[in-house]
């Protein structure tokens, strides 16, 4: 059974048909990669699952997206807070708040009053441990997060996301601001996180998709061309366009 299931998903920015009749399912506690050339709609698709496109003016969505069997585009569905707690997001540029490391991690907890203040310390430790930052940062929790390295910042952002205890983590090119070494480390981290979270990652980097993901979807001009096991997509693509893309004949 799929954690996330899209049925006949369509999305328009005004009159521009950005996602065209997309059908797919993301397995629970797996990593799914979305690849495709620039502008094909990867980010748009990702932002469908936590309804971040809602803030864009003139967006229209058709079809169904079921998360745990609940259609998040149903007319009755309006609990965006609950949805976004369940579906966290990590962005392209590491974007910690200009606050302390500690404050960054408890940011969501504080506003949501999810847990008592005295549990904050435990959650900060737990979150930092799961992104493998605890040992480095345990003595500077109250230093400003802007002083961290890019890689550490991105890890911190992941920790901030998982502190709210989501089921699903969406990552939009999470390594594109990082150097190759940091990229590998974040990939390692994703493998660890897979035990607890369903991860969807958008990436420009095909090696990355091949390395980290179990399933891969290939998009082109708003359409999902092919979706399947990563191994199959990269070794025996069914569609000619997929083959052309992964062999490097597209931008």
């Amino acid at each position: 059974m799929s954690k996330i299931l899209a049925k006949n998903l369509n999305l328009w920015y005004g009159t521009f048909h950005a996602l065209q009749n997309i059908n797919l399912g993301f397995g629970e506690r797996r990593i799914t990669a979305i690849i495709g050339p620039s502008g094909c709609g990867k980010s748009t698709l990702l932002r469908v699952f936590n309804r971040m496109n809602d803030v864009v003016e003139g967006v229209k969505v058709g079809g169904e997206v079921l998360i745990d069997n609940e259609n998040i585009f149903d007319g009755d569905f309006n609990d965006l807070v609950k949805l976004r707690k369940k579906v966290g997001m990590v962005f392209q540029r590491p974007n910690p708040f200009p606050l302390s490391i500690y404050e960054n991690i408890v940011f969501g907890l504080k506003v949501h009053h999810l847990v008592k203040k005295k549990e904050f310390n435990a959650i900060v430790q737990e979150s930092l441990e799961s992104v493998m930052l605890w040992n480095d940062l345990k003595n500077k929790l109250h230093k400003n997060a802007l002083g961290l390295s890019l890689e550490q910042k991105q890890r911190l952002c992941i920790a901030r996301t998982i502190a709210v205890k989501p089921d699903i983590v969406l990552m939009d090119e999470p390594c594109s601001a990082l150097d190759p070494q940091a990229t590998l480390k974040i990939e390692e981290l994703m493998q660890r996180l897979k035990k607890d979270y369903t991860i969807v990652i958008v990436t420009h980097n095909m090696q990355q998709a091949a390395r980290v993901s179990e399933d891969t979807g290939f998009m082109l001009l708003g359409e999902l061309i092919e979706f399947g096991r990563t191994a199959d997509i990269f070794t025996a693509p069914k569609d000619k366009r997929t083959e052309e893309y992964i062999t490097g004949r597209y931008g």
Binding site: F97, G108, H112
Partner: protein, 281 residues
């Protein structure tokens, strides 16, 4: 002519223009300080005026000015910030919004005497607050609103979009996002703008002339419904209406007024430079 010579001439002209801009400021300060510093005594600052304002101090005028400025910010800051939040965070770009923006720009250009007459008509007469600190503060607040709104909008706009995005993605509502992820990071900028606008208001005469200013009051205001003496108007009176007043007293009064305005500006500059240091996002 050689290029380097041309360049030297051009730079010299630019430098000259810069100096000419600075010159009046330096002159004003110098003249006021030179003529006024002897008059600045503890007594001058803390005593009531006596002998038909020829002797004694300017204490009530200082108090009146501070009352007025503080009360006006109580009105204008919350209103200005809320308007700025609406315009920057919520308003769609439609005709109404554009009209509002146009109104704000025009409001900033209205001359201060018009605000004074408006305050007289609305607060003093129509709303029956009388000539009082309340009327004066409201008039100054309205005069300051466009400046505060503009400064607040700039401060809000300088908060990166990514802060809002992260915040929404963590499940905060739009209002929670503004409250927790935008406003806290805009506050130094907002305060800077507010203080600068207040400093200007503190020195204005026209808006307070008909709404609050008393020629002479032998006591301090007891409530916001009292009239008050105010520094700029007091300075105007002792300079034009009262004969045989010593030059020193006049300059000392100007010294105090400029001093208050200058102190406020310094505060604003300090806040802003602190902000610059912190702001590395």
């Amino acid at each position: 002519m050689k290029t380097t010579t041309k360049q030297k001439i051009a730079f010299s002209i630019l430098f000259l223009c810069t100096i000419i801009v600075v010159l009046p400021v330096v002159c004003i300060f110098w003249i006021i300080i030179k003529n006024g510093y002897k008059g600045i005594t503890w007594q001058f600052i803390t005593a009531m005026p006596t002998e038909g304002m020829r002797q004694g101090g300017v204490y009530p005028a200082i108090v009146g000015t501070l009352y007025l400025v503080c009360l006006s910010i109580v009105f204008s800051l919350p209103m200005g910030v809320m308007a700025a939040v609406y315009l920057n965070e919520y308003a769609k770009d439609n005709l109404l919004t554009r009209l509002i923006r146009l109104a704000i720009v025009n409001l900033a250009g209205v001359s201060s005497v018009v605000y004074g007459l408006f305050g007289l008509a609305l607060f003093v007469t129509f709303m029956k607050f009388g000539v009082s600190i309340l009327s004066g503060a409201l008039t100054l607040a309205i005069m300051n609103l466009p400046v505060i709104i503009t400064a607040s909008r700039e401060a809000l706009a300088s908060v990166p979009y990514s802060f809002r995005e992260v915040s929404l993605s963590l499940g905060l509502s739009r209002w929670q996002t503004i409250r927790h992820s935008v406003l806290p990071f805009a506050i130094p900028g907002i305060l800077t703008g507010a203080i600068l606008s207040l400093a200007r208001a503190a020195g204005e005469t026209a808006p307070i002339l008909f709404t609050v200013a008393a020629f002479y009051l032998p006591h301090l205001p007891k409530s916001i419904f009292d009239q008050a003496m105010v520094l700029p108007y007091h300075l105007y009176i002792i300079s034009t209406q009262i004969p045989n007043i010593s030059r020193e007293t006049r300059y000392a009064t100007a010294f105090v007024l400029v001093g208050i305005v200058f102190t406020m500006n310094i505060f604003a500059v300090i806040i802003r430079s602190r902000l610059r240091k912190k702001k590395k996002w």
